[in-house]
Amino acid sequence: MVMKSEKARGTIVAAHGNLMTIRFEGVVRQNEVVYVKSAGLSLKGEVIEINGNEAKVQVFEPTKGVRYGDEVEFDSDLLTVELGPGLLKRVFDGLQNPLEDIAEQSGYFLPRGVYLDPLPRDAKWKWTPIAKVGDKVERAHFLGWVPEENIEHKIMVPFNFFGKGVVKKIADEGDYTIDDEIAQIEDEKGNVVPVKMIQRWPAKFALRFGERILPKEQLVTSMRVIDGPFPVAKGGTFCTPGPFGAGKTVLQHQVSKYAETQVVIVVACGERAGEVVEILREFPHLDDPQTGGKLIDRTCIICNTSSMPVAARESSVYMGVTIAEYYRQMGVDCLLLADSTSRWAQALREMSGRLEEIPGEEAFPAYLATRISELYERAGVLRLYDNKEGSLTIGGAVSPAGGNFEEPVTLSTLAVVGCFLGLSRQRSDARRYPAIDPLISWSKYIDRFAEYGSDEMKERVRRITVAQNMIFKSDEIGKKMSVVGEEGIAIEDLIVYLKGEFYDAVYLQQNAFDPVDTATDMERQSEQLDLVSKVLEKDFEFKDKEEARKYFLTLTDKVIQLNYLSKDVSIYDQKKDEILNMIEGA
């Protein structure tokens, strides 16, 4: 257990923005939480530097009104996340304040110094024990479970329980609140530790009990351009950098809606509040295709938008990751989407500047790359003590200044992620959505899927490789054509160009606003890839360029129309046969 020493106290001796210098008495921990008592308010902060009997503290909220001599209470705990049933469907700020409860209490605006319980205290959960009295347990072992939406929410031996223990007492099946004692465990020293459904974990430490294993299974996102050439692994990492207006947010929303995973944590970090509103107002009405429930049931939102305090923006990402790790620890597949990690990095930069640290490139702190890799390394597949697996996939949006990827945040992110989905201005200007650029993006997982996957997967990867080669050749020919004109190239080259354009138009592009095309399951994706391969691998003969162009124009249009058709519609097969005949007959 954590040593609970005497809590330190202090007073403010200097202040600048949200950086306070505090003279203290007692023992102070680095990154300990503090409360600044100012004008009847209690403002949360975090120790970031200690020197003699003075500590520097970053306060998470606006500090207007703070005076010399204001009292400061040290909490002795680090910044922690409250974990337990009831996290799903909720909206928290970067300090895990439940925003809907705050709205109920305080109205339109976010008050300072109000911290409410993240989890509902009065909700009753239907508890079913798993462990029995006398069982030998260690931390993160399952004691029982409660149903939370569609998840078997496991109640675990507290993560701060050290060594081996024995279950002394376990509650009978029944309804309990998170504050009720549901078990007692005796540790090696003979102390009996009471256990509740709720526990805490410091946000900035990875929560990981089990064996890390290589991510080999695909996370289906229902977006062809990702699941095809640039797939993501369950437990893997990906990033989506792009200039403004290229569709990063639409892309993230699409993934959060349709990814085949059990829990989705959305971290809206320093972006527009309006974007979160879409999720908040839309998800309760959208069906989750996998469970038949609503999308909001599997979603937890951490929302620290651009006008909310910058210091809490830094912690919002850690909040989200810790909650996701907690669910992974139950053997659940989780997906964390952070929009945008650039704003998080900027929060680091602002604080670093105030601490007068020596700046690195573009004034970002020298430890930027380390922080980014630490974050993405918290993803992964975990084999738990019961041999079941849980996974955490992390996807981060990056907003590079001027849309130029040669900047510190993008570069540091690319060095650590497994999949790069680069959005480009050219594609979004050409209305080719999603604007993931097939010429610059990559995934390190595709070869792994081919290596470990079924024969079917191997064939799939082969086909995609052919298609990708076509896109590169097609692009080259397209560039040549823009210089020498269509007359300047051979008809064979024109056909390659048209094939590439065809693959782009009917497979890589996907219409997010069409109810059918917006999400495509793996079965249909395979069917579509099948059709595309037939075209790409066929040797066409046309009498002239005009005929080739016309043929591909018609074919492309027909296939796009087919993409918009639900497979349940009776004319689907007929339309598909028409297309197949058109390919055969050419």
Binding site: P62, R67, Y68, L99, R281, C303, S307, Q346, G403
Partner: protein, 433 residues
């Protein structure tokens, strides 16, 4: 509560340092200069009893023996009906020779709106300018910049919007304005009658730089009070690049580490904190923000337009005196087009833009001396009419009139089946005889 001191220890940039006790962050102080002037300053930091004041009017002429009185409160702005028709500077003092306001006051830089309380915006903002209403409709609570370069008529555009909109209240925040532009706004608003529902916060190019930074906060805090009291407020901010440059100047004089082209690392947050004040409050009023961002060197990757683009909900490009239909985008337009406005709105706007894009290509072909087809000639005629009747900023039509005008243009230039529009709309709204 008032405490008075008579000794300034240190003066640098816009910062004056005094030894004082019991002051709080953000507290205001009134500084009485020896030459009789008075100015406000704000506590931005303290270390022990050394208190740093940011002097709103700058430190030019401030002496070590000037008198400083701490006021026990932070910066406030008046609000209420009596502000309408009035003009204030960045410190909130009237500059229109009218009386000081003794109204209730509210602190600036108030708390941010709870995201959980926000609603999906779906109310149409009328500007009567076709390039906005018809092709990139604005929605209440939207925040959108006009990207432009110096010399373009962006202030004229703002003035027109202010005069033609049906917003209840207009708050104009002018930063780094030339005197001529300021006078233009006043004259235009007076002439069109918009002044009666307008409140102005003006920082002229010759005014102290700190006041420039205060302008958006003053304007938005006042607007917020109107919005909470059931008014739909349109906030016009010009020019946010001058605001950003003022931030840059202050942060460098305070020896803060610059991040990109000298701008502070907090530029994104600083801009976002202002733009995010835009809101539609359920069962109350709203704030919609239209801002001008001049792009130095016409470079959209410059830190100010770049950061702005990430924050705002679309942008208008003002080029050659007209709103460019291609780069401009209102991200919220789907919320109202064809839903709040007439059903054919979205399809008609798309068809017209598509044809205009084709017409541009026809124009290229014409200028390169290619032989033009009959279709090309139709397009060229359309382009001419489109620019004259739709793109001109002089046009003042409400949205239904704009839609009818659109159909008239199509009928004048093309056959029914050449527009690619649904037959349903053509039969219902088409102007073909």
């Amino acid at each position: 509560m008032a405490r008075t001191y008579n000794r300034i220890e240190r003066i640098k940039g816009s910062i004056a340092q005094v030894k004082a006790e019991g002051v709080m962050l953000g507290e205001l102080a009134r500084i009485k200069l020896r030459d009789g002037r008075e100015t406000l300053g704000e506590v931005i930091s303290f270390d022990g009893d050394k208190v740093n004041l940011q002097v709103y009017s700058g430190t030019k002429g401030v002496s070590t023996g000037d008198q400083i009185r701490f006021l026990g409160r932070s910066m406030q702005v008046s609000y209420g009906e009596s502000m309408l028709g009035r003009v204030f500077n960045g410190s909130g003092d009237p500059i229109d020779k009218g009386p000081q306001l003794m109204e209730e006051k509210v602190e600036i830089q108030g708390p941010s709106f709870n995201p959980a309380k926000r609603i999906v915006p779906k109310r149409f903002v009328k500007t009567n300018i076709p390039m906005i209403d018809m092709f990139n409709a604005l929605v209440i609570s939207q925040k959108i910049p006009i990207f432009s370069i110096p010399g373009e008529p962006y202030n004229e555009l703002l003035a027109r919007i202010a005069s033609q909109t049906d917003a209840d209240i207009i708050v104009l925040g002018g930063m780094g304005l030339k005197f001529d532009d300021y006078q233009y706004f006043r004259d235009y608003f007076t002439k069109t009658g918009a002044m009666e529902k307008t409140s102005m916060f003006i920082h002229l190019a010759s005014d102290p730089v700190v006041e420039c930074v205060l302008v958006p906060d003053m304007a938005l805090a006042a607007a917020e009070q109107f919005a909470v009291n059931n008014k739909d407020v349109l906030v016009l901010l010009t020019d946010m690049t001058a605001f950003s440059d003022a931030l840059k100047e202050i942060s460098i004089s305070m020896e803060m580490v610059p991040s990109n082209r000298g701008y502070p690392g907090s530029l994104y947050s600083d801009l976002a904190a202002r733009y995010e004040k835009a809101v539609d409050i359920q069962s109350a009023g709203s704030i919609t923000v239209i801002a001008v961002t001049t792009m130095p060197g016409d470079d959209v990757t410059h830190p100010v337009p770049d950061n702005t683009g990430y924050i705002t909900e679309g942008q208008f490009y003002l080029h050659g005196g007209v709103i460019d239909p291609f780069g401009s985008l209102s991200r919220l337009k789907q919320q109202v087009m064809g839903k709040v406005t007439r059903e054919d709105h979205g399809d008609l706007a798309n068809a017209m833009i598509r044809l205009f894009a084709d017409a541009k290509k026809a124009r290229d072909r014409a200028s390169m001396g290619f032989r033009l087809s009959g279709w090309d000639n139709k397009l060229l005629k359309y382009a001419g009419l489109f620019e004259e009747k739709m793109m001109s900023l002089e046009v003042n039509l409400d949205i239904d009139e704009q839609l009818n005008l659109g159909w008239e243009l199509l009928a004048e230039c093309f056959d029914k089946n050449e527009t690619g529009l649904k037959n349903e709309w053509i039969d219902k709204y088409g102007k073909w005889k």
